[in-house]
């Protein structure tokens, strides 16, 4: 099988990364599949940027293996298929947006045209502005343009919407989605649960250098809110899914497992709809603390 047909484009394999005595990543497994948007979610300091920098070959892992398109990303040639948007304090201010795009396009073998890049990144009206004259959100969009100008198969976006207002953020989401629609794979980091939910096919939650969650937004939300109702009921799953507060339902023999954000809400609806429901078991998850840290940010 040729490597190009493998579903996996990037992976961290039990990767350990220490900064001196501080452990930034502890045996992290992570995999980006072809054509998916993967969100790496976590509070500041969780290790998101470290994971991205390892995948870009900017850092050396202390243990484990980093692979991008089957190769070690520290070899510069592999980067012709990736584009990156990093958090940067300041950019060279005296070059125009169009000039920066022209320059970065020249690094790639088959770049988009400058016009296509500006269209895809929504920076057409910024073309002749110098980087130093851009607002925070405009700067992010210009950096986004540099990440995608080479027409890469895989994009790394580190906190792409930081410093953007709501409207600009939604615009950026739309552009990221249209990348995925064209078959690109995207790994983005964010500390907004909402952003991960709106964009990602799959979410990996990092907390203190460990992966604590990995799944779709729906799966994670139910586990995050962390509440489960188990009981025996004759109601079909489709009816249960229509209840308020219900995130997911699974049938196990004659009982069901309902993932919910409100146990009280589910119980009230359940008993009203099926008075014969019985054998209730309630469970609160253990992820709340981690997510309080997330949402508190």
């Amino acid at each position: 099988m040729q490597p190009d047909f493998q579903p996996e484009v990037a992976r961290l394999n039990r990767v350990i990364k220490n900064y001196g005595s501080r452990r930034a990543l502890q045996e992290v497994d992570l995999c980006v599949n072809r054509g998916e948007i993967l969100a790496l979610l976590g509070p500041n300091g969780a290790g998101k940027t470290t994971a991205v920098k390892l995948l870009l070959g900017l850092l050396d892992p202390n243990g484990g293996e980093v692979r991008v398109f089957g190769k070690d990303p520290r070899e510069a040639r592999g980067r012709q298929r990736t584009g990156a948007m990093l958090q940067v304090a300041r950019v060279p201010e005296t070059l125009r947006v169009r000039e920066h795009i022209d320059l970065f396009s020249s690094y790639y073998p088959h770049p988009l045209s400058i016009a296509e890049t500006m269209e895809a990144a929504g920076v057409c009206e910024l073309a002749n502005r110098k980087f130093g004259e851009l607002s925070g959100g405009e700067k992010q969009r210009a950096l986004f343009a540099l990440a995608l100008c080479g027409n890469p198969d895989l994009l790394f976006l580190d906190e792409p919407t930081v410093g953007m207002d709501v409207e600009a953020r939604r615009g950026m989401w739309k552009q990221i989605r249209s990348l995925a629609a064209r078959g690109k794979s995207v790994l983005l980091t964010t500390h907004y649960l909402e952003e991960a939910e709106a964009l990602a096919d799959r979410i990996v939650v990092l907390h203190r250098g460990r992966v604590i969650e990995n799944g779709t937004a729906r799966e994670i939300k139910s586990r995050v809110t962390g509440q489960v109702v188990r009981c025996r009921t004759k109601l079909p799953i489709e009816d249960l899914l229509r209840f308020d507060y219900v995130n997911d339902v699974r049938r196990e023999g004659d009982s069901v497992e309902i993932q919910t954000s409100s146990i009280d809400g589910v119980l009230r609806q359940l008993i009203l709809t099926d008075p014969e429901a019985a054998g209730f078991e309630l469970q609160k998850g253990g992820l709340e603390d981690a997510f309080l840290a997330l949402t508190a940010k």
Binding site: N18, Y19, G20, R22, A24, L56, G57, L58, L59, D60, A76, R77, R79, Q80, A84, L86, Q87, V88, A89, R90, V91, P92, T94, L95, E99, H100, D102, L103, F104, S106, Y107, Y108, K130, L143, L146, G150, F156
Partner: protein, 253 residues
């Protein structure tokens, strides 16, 4: 080749539009030359040459060093400190081209600087050099961008970004003075004349002065040898800084 061309072109544009670089690093040697060679000492002679030609050699060295220290050193320190170097490293741009482009613009600004000084000297300060001597002095001065380009790389990697402007000036200005670029080294106190031989700009200016027949007491080749040694030392320091920078990012330093 296309990458190198574009990288150099935009590096050039970037620096040209930077007012701090354009106004301070590039114009200072020109202003000094106008003040000393055109206005004050135009008709004086010194060491067997007329003063305005003598100063073409010294301020030419001063200008080439400035173009490299600010255009390469400060520029690199800034990009390193602000995360831009990392953006470049994350791109497919081969690192060698990044550095090569920086060295090239150091050279280009050096050429522009020396050309401007020659124009001032010939046009306003009665500099009369044979065409061949003009070419020789021009070539020697421009070759100075090799050792000073290497020093620029070293400073770019070793200086902390926020203190880099101060550090570059603290190296640039005293080094120039103690090498006799502002005032002929023969007029400096004896002790300073003896320390000057340990400074790279001294050797560059002596090579350029050699074209005028000023530097008779030294063997010409020792200046070339000294500059070669300094180049090697600066490249070694730059490599050391590069390694240290990588180690620091990996949390090892």
């Amino acid at each position: 080749m296309n990458i190198y061309w574009k990288e150099t072109k935009y590096e050039f544009l970037k620096m040209l539009r930077n007012p701090r670089f354009g106004l301070s690093a590039l114009t200072m040697p020109l202003l000094f030359y106008i003040l000393y060679a055109v206005i004050m000492y135009k008709s004086r002679h010194f060491g067997g040459a007329n003063m305005s030609s003598y100063m073409l050699a010294t301020f030419g060295s001063f200008g080439v060093m400035g173009a490299c220290l600010f255009g390469i050193g400060l520029n690199l320190a800034n990009e390193r400190g602000l995360g831009w170097l990392e953006v470049k490293r994350a791109s497919p741009l081969p690192p060698a081209i990044y550095f090569l482009a920086k060295l090239t613009i150091g050279l280009l600004f050096g050429v522009a600087e020396v050309a401007a000084l020659f124009a001032l000297g010939i046009g306003l300060a009665d500099v009369r050099l044979a065409p061949l001597d003009t070419l020789r002095m021009f070539g020697i001065l421009v070759a100075g961008s090799i050792p000073f380009g290497a020093l620029g790389l070293a400073l770019g990697y070793l200086a902390k970004p926020d203190s880099a402007p101060v550090i570059v000036n603290l190296i640039y200005l005293p080094l120039s003075f103690f090498s006799g670029l502002w005032m002929p080294v023969e007029l400096l106190p004896k002790a300073l004349q003896q320390t000057a031989v340990y400074l790279p700009p001294y050797h560059l200016s002596r090579l350029a002065l050699g074209v005028l027949g000023v530097d008779q007491d030294h063997v010409y080749w020792t200046h070339w040898q000294a500059l070669t040694c300094f180049t090697a030392i600066f490249l070694g320091l730059a490599m050391l800084g590069y390694r240290r920078d990588n180690a620091r990012q990996n949390g090892l330093a």
